[in-house]
């Protein structure tokens, strides 16, 4: 590995008011979001701390994906606000946001007509973390992408391989917050193993990892497990 995939010191914590507050990187207060004329999220409170692996689950249509979009600043909440290191998201410049929050969604966030290596090289230079070929290659090795696939186009990857490459993109971004939507989709048992290891390592290195998942393997690993119900987050049993 050329460098640590997730330097923890990128985001400076806000003025410390206590041990907990100091470590909270991404905080949502009173967040509400409506689909059409119905509130899906309401009075939602959440704080994601640096170095923790936080899992969110909830039934279909509970608003998990919308919550993720709000947390990464893609859509503005109807009410309430989200702060990144104490700064409201709407005041954070788009590129700063892109540098500090990395997301993995249903689509892997890759160009299908570029190879895995080219994707990593391009997308990492966009967030000011340019990777050398060796570094990119090492990352792809780390997520378990076969060597011969590095130079193939992503279009010819299987769903699981695309997911792995997407994970490598998140690791390459060097972001302090990871937001992952169902990261284990399409992964085989070995892939899940890899995913668990990568997330644990990232959290250990100080990254705040928030994943939407129902994967028991990840649940066993998580520091906290919250359930999204009735528009709010509850401690899961």
């Amino acid at each position: 590995m050329g460098r640590d995939p997730a330097p923890a010191t990128v985001v400076k914590p806000a003025a410390a008011t206590g041990a907990q507050a100091a470590a909270a990187v991404l905080v949502a207060t009173g967040v509400a979001w409506a689909a059409g004329e119905r509130f899906v999220l309401l009075d939602l409170e959440l704080s994601v701390r640096a170095g923790e692996l936080l899992l969110i689950s909830g039934h279909n249509g509970a608003g998990k994906t919308s919550l993720l979009s709000i947390l990464r600043g893609a859509i503005a909440p109807a009410r309430g606000q989200v702060t990144l290191a104490g700064v409201p998201l709407e005041d954070v410049a788009a590129d700063y946001l892109a540098n500090h929050i990395a997301t993995l969604q249903h689509r892997p966030g890759l160009y299908f007509d570029l190879t895995g290596l080219e994707n990593l090289a391009l997308l990492s230079s966009l967030v000011n973390q340019p990777l050398t070929v060796t570094e990119a290659s090492a990352l792809l090795d780390r997520v378990g992408l076969p060597r011969e696939a590095h130079q193939r186009r992503v279009r010819h990857y299987s769903r699981g391989m695309q997911q792995r490459t997407g994970l490598a993109r998140v690791m390459a971004s060097g972001a302090a917050v990871w937001l992952l939507d169902e990261p284990s989709t399409g992964l085989d048992p070995a892939g899940r193993e890899t995913l668990s290891r990568v997330l644990r390592d990232a959290a250990a290195a100080g990254t705040a990892v928030l994943a939407i998942s129902h994967d028991p393997e990840l649940l066993a690993l998580a520091d906290r497990h919250l359930e999204l119900r009735d528009g709010r987050l509850h401690e899961a049993a």
Binding site: L97, R107, G109, Y111, D113, E118, L123
Partner: protein, 222 residues
């Protein structure tokens, strides 16, 4: 500096993707050729296609084929879900816009290079006033590429955009189209007085080149 660097990165990527999916360019060229042939059929009079239709056929073919390629302009981003990643760069949305507009310009430029001789050949016309025609085509393509990229970007997440794209694009580029046809017909007839039309096209180009990236940034903000 950042703008230039990121734009180059994105443009290089687009060129690479275009080179790897050559089918797209090939099919667009085929479509343009087909357009010309169909127009020739449509305007057949007493067994010969009439030369008077050359400017119209040329410009309308260019407009149609540019709409076809505009509908695919953001396809690589949509397919892999990278639009968010490339539109939130340190230089904002500008590099994305410039790289896409450049791609569209290159694309339609290539189509023009193929279509122009073909139209002249099919309609038995000699190319006179080449300078004026080239200037009009150049100005027209620049304007159409910038406005087209804006339309394409606006409609990425919109349902029924295949229908909506022409509805926005054609009224907006109508001034360019009308003056382009005028200049071409004057030039082909070796007439005088294309200067005013070219100036008009230049004014609209300037307006489009300045306004389109700005509107793009405003409309796609978070």
């Amino acid at each position: 500096m950042t703008v230039a660097r990121i734009t180059w990165l994105l443009l290089k990527k687009d060129l690479r993707i275009a080179a790897r999916s050559r089918e797209m360019l090939g099919f667009t060229l085929l479509f343009a050729v087909l357009c010309v042939i169909v127009f020739a059929f449509g305007f057949l009079q007493e067994g010969a296609a009439t030369a008077g239709y050359v400017p119209g056929v040329l410009w309308v073919t260019l407009l149609f084929s540019s709409s076809v390629s505009l509908l695919r302009l953001f396809a690589p981003e949509e397919e892999g879900g990278t639009l968010d990643l490339v539109s939130s760069t340190a230089a904002g949305t500008l590099p994305l816009f410039i790289s896409k507009a450049t791609m569209q310009l290159l694309f339609t430029g290539l189509v023009t290079v193929v279509v122009l001789p073909l139209v002249l050949l099919f309609f038995n016309t000699e190319l006179k006033g080449f300078g004026q025609t080239a200037a009009a085509l150049g100005l027209g393509l620049v304007g159409m590429a910038t406005v087209g990229t804006l339309c394409s970007a606006l409609l990425v997440h919109v349902r029924l955009r295949e229908v909506l794209l022409p509805l926005v694009l054609y009224p907006t580029v109508a001034p360019l189209l009308i003056s382009g046809v005028k200049v071409t017909s004057i030039a082909l007839a070796e007439g005088e007085g294309t200067g005013d039309w070219l100036t008009l096209m230049l004014i609209f180009d300037l307006l489009f080149v300045v306004a389109s990236p700005w509107l793009h940034g405003r409309a796609l903000q978070r």
